[in-house]
């Protein structure tokens, strides 16, 4: 028995006059659809897939051995026999290029995943648990963050050598607090919402709340950060290889190739430029994807700028 002697009392919700114009698509989008849905993301994806294909499968199409010396004249320009010319040791640049990307891709992938599992897990826990636990986790992150990354990695490599395992662990260690902070920040924004309090009032357990209520809402920023970290990781590892502190000769690594042929820039530029372009293409593709995700994530909060 409701009040108000109005004729439409029984109508659930009166239909608006122009229903078609009222509809605006306000549904939450999945990360995938966000990337696919705009040009930046599309270019990033296409480029990324291309580079992935090149790195993983390119080596099977190499016309020459990647390590054999003197398969061609030294520092020769491009020719039909050697599409990208040869380097100062007579090795075929094209073959080395096809085979040279794996460290630069795989080490960051592994390291970032590790950083997300550990760092992200800790960050989420800290933001949810608050109090002492959060203070401890934040303090640890802060301490790790004050250590300059490249310096830290160089020093550890100086001591522990340049094996792939060391590389993965140190890069993961560098990213751990950064990823942790991002995930913690995203979780904090979610945890203050009343729907989390509603779940707590229902007496749900922490794991259930983190999994059902929190995780779906931090997925998008987490994925965006993941793509971004891969970009940084690629830059990082490529730099280490360039400095001679990662992959070791005679491995056909892009970073090494740039360093090796650096002094012959005027004579055989392609031996340097081709691997440099490879590194650039790989990291640009991931950065485009990361950017597409972050920019479209914040569209709801992108208020208009005052027309000053």
């Amino acid at each position: 028995m409701t009040s108000g002697a109005v004729a439409n009392a029984d109508v659930l919700e009166p239909e608006p006059l122009h229903p078609a114009e009222e509809e605006e698509d306000a549904r939450p989008q999945s990360a995938w659809r966000t990337v696919i849905g705009n040009v930046e993301g599309q270019i990033g994806l296409v480029l990324g897939v291309l580079m992935l294909g090149l790195i993983l499968f390119g080596r099977f199409f190499a016309p020459y051995s990647v390590t054999e010396l003197g398969v061609g004249p030294q520092t020769a320009g491009p020719s039909t026999a050697h599409l990208l010319g040869t380097d100062n040791l007579g090795r075929d640049v094209f073959s080395r290029f096809l085979a040279g990307g794996d460290t630069i891709l795989l080490v960051p992938l592994l390291a970032v995943t590790l950083a997300f599992v550990v760092g992200g897990g800790l960050g989420m826990l800290g933001a949810y648990a608050r109090g002492q636990v959060d203070a401890l986790i934040t303090r640890t992150f802060d301490l790790l963050l004050t250590l300059p990354p490249l310096l830290l990695v160089l020093v550890i490599i100086a001591g522990l050598g340049t094996s792939k395992a060391v590389l993965v662990m140190t890069v993961a260690l560098v990213f751990l607090p950064r990823v942790g902070r991002v995930v913690r920040g995203a979780t904090q924004a979610v945890v203050t919402n009343d729907y989390v309090a509603a779940a707590q009032a229902r007496g749900e357990r922490t794991t259930a709340i983190l999994g059902r209520e929190v995780l779906p809402n931090i997925a998008a920023p987490a994925i965006a950060d993941f793509a971004l970290r891969i970009t940084y990781g690629v830059i990082f590892v490529a730099t280490l290889n360039f400095l001679g502190l990662g992959a070791q000769p005679p491995a056909p690594d892009w970073g090494l190739m740039v360093a090796d042929s650096r002094n012959f820039l005027s004579v055989a530029p392609l031996a340097t430029l081709a691997p440099a372009a490879g590194i650039a293409a790989l990291s640009i593709s991931f950065n485009l994807i990361a950017d597409a995700l972050t920019r479209h994530l914040t569209r709801e909060t992108a208020k208009g700028v005052v027309p000053v």
Partner: protein
């Protein structure tokens, strides 16, 4: 608009404003709106969210919000059309001849600049004041606004002042260069009701003394009825009624105004409120009457063509074909159902509960100090208080979200653990919570079915898995929402719809006690009324007791039979509702009651 003989200062004619939508199309949100501001008078512009009142006000002074465009009309000040001017020219007028006070002073005052410097800037830019002359004027202004210790205040930052004081500073800045036109955009919304009353009185004085032509935008019809001289009501981007303020609130001629007045909870009359079903259009409607789908007086003629604004008598106009026929007084409303209280044994006993904020390191502060009360099964009890009274914290403590440091909570004879997760499922089921803000109480990644279904899954043993969806559909019907909403996400729903979902979620567990934390404070008045009706209905239907927390005494009066008044963590007064309103004992209660603007006389 008719005049009181006062000279017209700002004449706005046929103002049309649009916003660019996501897909590039232009959405008109204000259509051919006209009004005149006269010296020394307050013109009220009333309406609910989305009606275009703020947009109208800002556009009238030439400000284009990001994404908006002024599509037509003129706004003339001293013979110059503001809408034709470029920003540099407008800059010389804004702040000096036209002043604007935004809604929330805490965000409109720059947090990183001292109050003194913010006050000084317009004075030096527009009037060229410097040195001692400048300082003297600053102090004079702050004193006129009633701020204590003006010299010291100049060097302080906004965050060091209370909300009311911040708004006084904002008003001081606005009036510093003696403007001809003053725009007030919901200046007291968000302030405590007692502070609101003081600021409103201050504004009235200032307008009289300085003779500034004022436009006061607000959703609070009762406030405007008492404060403004002329009043215009907006709906869907158009003015639907305008007249002297008394006339609009005492003898409304447009069905929307009538319905709006009927939706405002009254402090005078017990328990009468009526909501307006449906929601307003999101843009102007030009081929019919925009209110037609929700109008009790609708005729086929109303949807045939656009309805013009007609003059009814001397100063009263209304945009309705049937304005003459509509009864000149607000329609009678029936009271909300009163739940019968039969059982003698209390359902919930709160005994001497103390709650604190803070940690041992940063210092603790008591927020709830020794509160005790009882609720019987099926009873609705209101808890009223201003911000900082501890009422929300008390509610969260009962819900198990904020463990009290002392005291006991007993439900149905069983003691409740301090933290919800430690309570047995049967007890958790009995207590359900509805939150204030529907935007943050529903998980944006869950569908309506997920949201309402969760408590069913957790608590309703009488519903097997296969029947869960049916149970959800039943609940949606109980809250008067169509079943098609099952697959929607919260972002696709309106504020009122979201709050209904939150209520459905709460009742899904069939609780014996419902805790409502300011559940209507974030909603428009007409929506608020429908929510209040809904809660009253469902509470009666399911025999659920309700604790209703609100800062709004009138709202509490509408739904509750008993009420507690809280202040600074303590209970000042507890009484039956009628008793509380007829003969308040505590001085604070009296202060609260007297602060409520009461200009809407009930039939």
């Amino acid at each position: 608009m008719s005049t009181n003989g006062a000279p017209a200062v700002l004449e706005v004619t046929d103002l049309t404003v649009g916003y660019k939508r996501g897909d590039g199309r232009m959405n008109e949100v204000v259509w051919r709106t006209s009004f005149t501001l006269e010296a020394g008078t307050i013109t009220g512009l009333a309406g609910e969210s989305g009606c275009g009142k703020s947009t109208t006000a800002l556009a009238a002074i030439g400000y284009r919000s990001p994404g908006s465009a002024i599509l037509g009309g003129t706004s003339v000040l001293d013979g110059v059309d503001l809408l034709e001017l470029t920003t540099p020219k407008l800059r010389s007028i804004w702040g000096s001849r036209i002043a604007y006070v935004a809604q929330s002073a805490s965000t409109a005052l720059n947090p990183a600049i001292t109050v003194g410097r913010q006050l000084a800037q317009p004075l030096s830019v527009h009037l060229g004041l410097k040195g001692t002359e400048l300082r003297a004027r600053q102090i004079e202004l702050l004193e006129a606004m009633g701020l204590p210790e003006p010299e010291a205040a100049l060097d302080r930052y906004p965050f060091q002042f209370s909300g009311g004081q911040q708004q006084r500073v904002a008003i001081a800045i606005a009036l510093s260069c003696r403007p001809q036109v003053l725009l007030l955009d919901e200046p007291t919304t968000g302030l405590d009701v007692t502070t609101q009353a003081r600021i409103s009185a201050l504004l009235r004085e200032l307008v009289r003394e300085t003779g500034v032509a004022t436009l006061y935008v607000s959703h609070d019809l009762a406030l405007l009825g008492g404060l403004a001289d002329r009043l215009a009501v907006m709906y869907a981007g158009e003015i639907v009624e305008e007249s002297d303020a008394h006339a609009v609130t005492r003898t409304p001629r447009h069905p929307y105004t009538q319905a709006l007045i009927a939706a405002v909870p009254s402090v005078k009359k017990p328990r009468a409120v009526a909501g307006i079903a449906g929601r307003p259009p999101s843009h102007v409607v030009l081929d019919a009457c925009s209110f037609a789908p929700r109008c009790p007086y609708v005729l086929p003629a109303c949807t045939a063509d656009h309805v013009p604004l007609r003059r009814l008598n001397g100063s009263h106009s209304a945009r309705c074909l049937r304005a003459d026929e509509i009864a000149a007084s607000p329609k009678a409303t029936t009271a909300l159902p009163i739940p019968p209280v039969t059982a003698p044994k209390p359902l919930l006993e709160v005994s001497d509960v103390w709650c604190e904020y803070g940690t041992r390191r940063s210092g603790t502060k008591p927020v709830v100090k020794g509160v005790s009360f009882e609720i019987r099964p099926g009873e609705t009890v209101g808890i009223v208080g201003e911000s900082g009274s501890g009422k929300s914290t008390l509610l969260r403590a009962i819900a198990g979200l904020h463990p009290p440091v002392d005291g006991a909570l007993v439900l149905n004879g069983e003691e409740l653990a301090r933290s919800a997760v430690k309570r047995p499922r049967a007890l958790r089921r009995e207590l359900q919570l509805v939150f204030q803000n529907p935007d943050s109480s529903l998980n944006p990644r869950h569908t309506v079915e997920d949201i309402v279904g969760r408590p069913i899954r957790l608590f309703r043993e009488d519903v097997p898995r296969t029947k869960e969806k049916d149970a959800v559909a039943e609940l949606l019907e109980a809250v008067k929402l169509p079943g098609s909403l099952l697959v929607r996400y919260p972002a696709e729903l309106s504020g009122g719809q979201k709050q209904r979902i939150a209520i459905a979620r709460a009742f899904a567990a069939r609780p014996s006690l419902l805790l409502c934390d300011e559940v209507t404070s974030a909603l428009d008045v007409s929506v608020q009324a429908t929510i209040l009706e809904l809660i009253a209905d469902l509470a009666m239907q399911f025999e659920t007791a309700v604790v209703f927390v609100s800062h709004d005494l009138a709202v509490v009066r509408t739904v509750a039979t008993r009420a507690l008044v809280m202040r600074n963590g303590e209970v000042c007064e507890e009484a039956e509702i009628e008793q509380l309103f007829a003969a308040p004992q505590h001085p604070y209660t009296r202060e609260l009651l007297s602060a409520i603007p009461e200009s809407i006389a009930a039939a």
